[in-house]
């Protein structure tokens, strides 16, 4: 088990290396560089050249790359040009916001997605099933920014119940956090609720057809025990994969949601960094984000082992 995780971690290194190479190359290919953003429109060519020299942007491409990787090997991801803050610090400041939002959305996803999937499967081909699957289809078809806008129009502009945007940290004011995060979390979760409901339903239907379920029912076990202990426990294995995918979809989806609701999270930070050619921030931030996503995938694989003894005892 520990061996599996170690091997997966080792396998992640080349992937992250290629990720950083792609990011590095992509950022240098973007026309324009940070000097024009810092210098502003009125900067003279001499001033721009000075800024470029200060940032080391006048050096040859490969030298810049070599320097970046050398610093990376020492655990230094550089400083954000735009924020004047070091990349790791800026990431650590913004990441909790995105994580809190994603966690909230994940709770919504698991509660609604899992429940509606299980209920639909238990009442296959009834009105409840059809309604649940209709909502799931709506969920995967409504763009999250559209739902976000509709909620803003209804709950913020028309009714005035919730603020249109902004963010209050949970540690500062839990009620404020709920007020600012609920609409973003719902709009972020919608797609995933639909996905999870559909997959839970199909997995449950497959499991419910198995012989051991019939045996369990035949020997007179209460329905609740059959569903929870025999069916759901087995259905959870494929569902875990989906939850792993959902976590990365949530982090990815937060880019749009954070922009829409002006939430100062990782997505907004990276979008602004790309648009303002903040090279170190994009390179470091994307590397950290993808590394984080890769870790989540490995954690999901480790969860399999916990849920499924067959994986645990399998020789590596």
């Amino acid at each position: 088990m520990a061996g599996v995780i170690l091997r997966r971690l080792a396998g992640a290194v080349p992937v992250l290396l290629i990720v950083s190479l792609i990011t590095f190359g992509m950022m240098r290919l973007i026309p324009g560089d940070p000097s024009s953003v810092i210098g502003g429109l009125s900067a003279t060519p001499a001033q721009l050249a000075q800024i470029r020299a200060d940032l080391g942007l006048d050096e040859p491409f490969f030298l810049q790359m070599l320097k970046w990787y050398t610093a990376l090997a020492h655990g230094d991801l550089g400083r954000s040009i735009l924020l004047g803050q070091d990349v790791v610090g800026a990431t650590l400041q913004r990441l909790p916001v995105t994580l809190a939002l994603s966690a909230y959305a994940l709770v919504i996803t698991v509660v609604f997605g899992l429940c509606s999937g299980v209920f639909a499967a238990l009442r296959q081909n009834t009105v409840i099933d059809q309604l649940a699957m209709m909502f799931a289809m709506l969920g995967i078809s409504v763009p999250n920014f559209f739902l976000g806008l509709l909620m803003i129009i209804l709950f913020a502009v028309r009714l005035g119940w919730l603020p249109t945007g902004g963010y209050i940290a949970f540690t500062d004011d839990p009620v404020g956090w709920l007020r600012t995060s609920t609409m973003p979390a719902i709009s972020l979760a919608l797609l995933q609720v639909g996905l999870l409901a559909r997959i839970t339903r199909s997995t449950m239907l497959e499991v419910l057809r198995q012989d051991y379920i019939r045996t369990a029912r035949a020997k007179g076990l209460p329905r609740r025990v059959v569903v929870m202990k025999h069916a759901l426990a087995n259905a959870l294995i494929p569902i875990t994969t989906v939850v792993g995918i959902i976590v990365s979809l949530l982090i990815s989806g937060s880019v749009v949601t954070e922009t829409l609701f002006s939430i100062p999270g990782m997505g907004q930070l990276l979008t602004q960094a790309v648009l303002n050619r903040d090279y170190p921030m994009v390179q470091g931030g994307l590397l950290l984000t993808t590394a984080f996503l890769v870790m989540i995938n490995i954690a999901v694989d480790a969860c399999y082992a916990l849920l499924d003894p067959r994986v645990r005892y399998e020789s590596p």
Partner: protein, 303 residues
Amino acid sequence: MNLPDAPSRPDAEADIQDVPIHRQHPAWMTLRRLFRHQLFLTGIGLFGIILAAAILAPIIAPVDPTKLAMRYKFRPPDGTFIFGTDNFGRSLWSRVIWGAQLSVVIGFSVVLLNAIFGTLIGALAGYFRSLDNGLMRVNDALMAFPAILLAIGVTAVLGPSTFNVILALAVVYIPRTARIVRSSVIVLREMEYVQAAVAAGAGHWRILRRHILPNAMAPLIVQLSFLFAYAVLSEATLSFLGLGAVPPTPTWGNIMAEGRQYMSEASWIITIPGIALMITVMGLNLLGDGLRDVLDPRLRIQQ
């Protein structure tokens, strides 16, 4: 050992001849099954509305979608302006219809690029073991990026335009398509009929073209129909963030982005393109579900 003779019936042969022989082409039978599939038909219907609007745009929306008419601004939907007007008095009907055309063109182009390059990369990686490791590492790296950030990065490199959005979305989705093709090719490569073809002296290309790829088509077609939905959705998202086609060219995303400032007094600027987007995505999703049920029963969500 003597087996008893089968009871002879004089009319046995006639019986067999009476059974109608279904000499229908398999493709025809698949089509018939598709057109009995309720959800597929609903999907075709919904997507058909959008497709018709896109194709007929010059006829049904003759008013220039970029034509300004300040005195008509913020007209709510009524008899004169079917979908109302926006902050510049432009006809939202025209803008949404021409936006449909753009969405369909972008979605179709992304699907086409995926069909070509996703198949190529997936087939090469799946069939030639020597290429697998290298190709899939790059593939994994591209898939490790949060999708929308990669698309934002690529459009930032290339600059915002319709063509560049197509390229950006192709870069984002081709690795996913390649992975699906690869996984079918890896299974098919080990099939006995492929070994038979190898034994008969068929070359690599012939085996790939004649024996492997035709059998890998079903999951690919299903993937491409969902991909169309993702592409339309992502294009709208990018142009909502200001990275799509440059205004005043109307796209559903940039119409909604402009409408944001006026959402308290003119919410139809947001809701109408939003609903159009939803209809498109839902139509394509239903279509994809139908195709999956009929073409690829292994992946089926049990009915």
